[in-house]
Symmetry: C2
Subunit: 146 residues, 2 copies
């Protein structure tokens, strides 16, 4: 399971936009590229606008561009805004809170993968997608034609 479908959509939208940072992209552009259900995609874009990641230009020739610098947008913040990070930070697999003096049976086992996961989210920004710190861009960047 890992993360919700909606978070996945949000990440796909923003990572694609990050790789085409210079270009204003419309919902239609993003739909054609990402194949996320159109109306749902549109709603998510509005949500991402309200969350302040991107900003919308309305009307004819409208579309979306980033509202903030890419190097300030951590993956953790994106997921946090969509589904919250709390369920990832808790113990025994999400929901249960696990008291420090009486850890649950899986506490130790869970600790390492959980930390690796969270640390990656909290230390990686959308800018890292572009500067190749974590990723090769070679096959991923694609030119947008209007």
């Amino acid at each position: 399971m890992f993360i919700s479908k909606t978070s996945e959509h949000a990440l796909r939208i923003l990572t694609y936009m990050a790789l085409n940072y210079e270009t204003q992209l419309s919902a239609r552009n993003l739909f054609e590229e990402l194949q996320i259900p159109k109306r749902y995609l549109m709603r998510l874009l509005t949500d991402l606008s309200k969350s302040g990641f991107i900003k919308a230009a309305r009307g004819r020739n409208g579309g979306y561009v980033f509202a903030r610098s890419l190097d300030t947008i951590y993956f953790s913040e994106i997921i946090d805004s969509v589904e919250g990070l709390l369920t990832f930070e808790g113990c025994v697999l999400g929901s249960t809170v696990c008291p420090v003096d009486k850890p649950c049976a899986m506490h130790q086992i869970w600790e390492k993968p959980k930390q690796t996961f969270l640390e990656t989210l909290k230390s990686t920004t959308l800018a890292d997608l572009r500067n190749g710190k974590n990723i090769r861009l070679k096959y991923s960047i694609k030119q947008i034609h209007h």
Copy 2:
């Protein structure tokens, strides 16, 4: 999110049973200890029986004990039987398959936490809970009274 509620229940059931390996436990015992909704718990126990992790003794003084040796039961197998492991093994956050020659934008970023998670699941058995390899038992074992 990480894993489904049902997987979480299953893991809590089996880890608790593992820590009380010697004792046959009834649905009632487990309900009192784990506070999983009673009827749902009972159905999950039947499911876990059918999956071959535990075996049921029916009728008065019935209950459940393990059907297999603890050191053969990997966490990966438990989750696999409840919700499947495929969504954890795929790329971009679960569902999307990511071609090797054209990896998605998050491919590299995701690789490490995903591997840590899966390797832990695939290398840890219920027996490890008891022998202290990964966990201190001190606070977790609890005597069952009939």
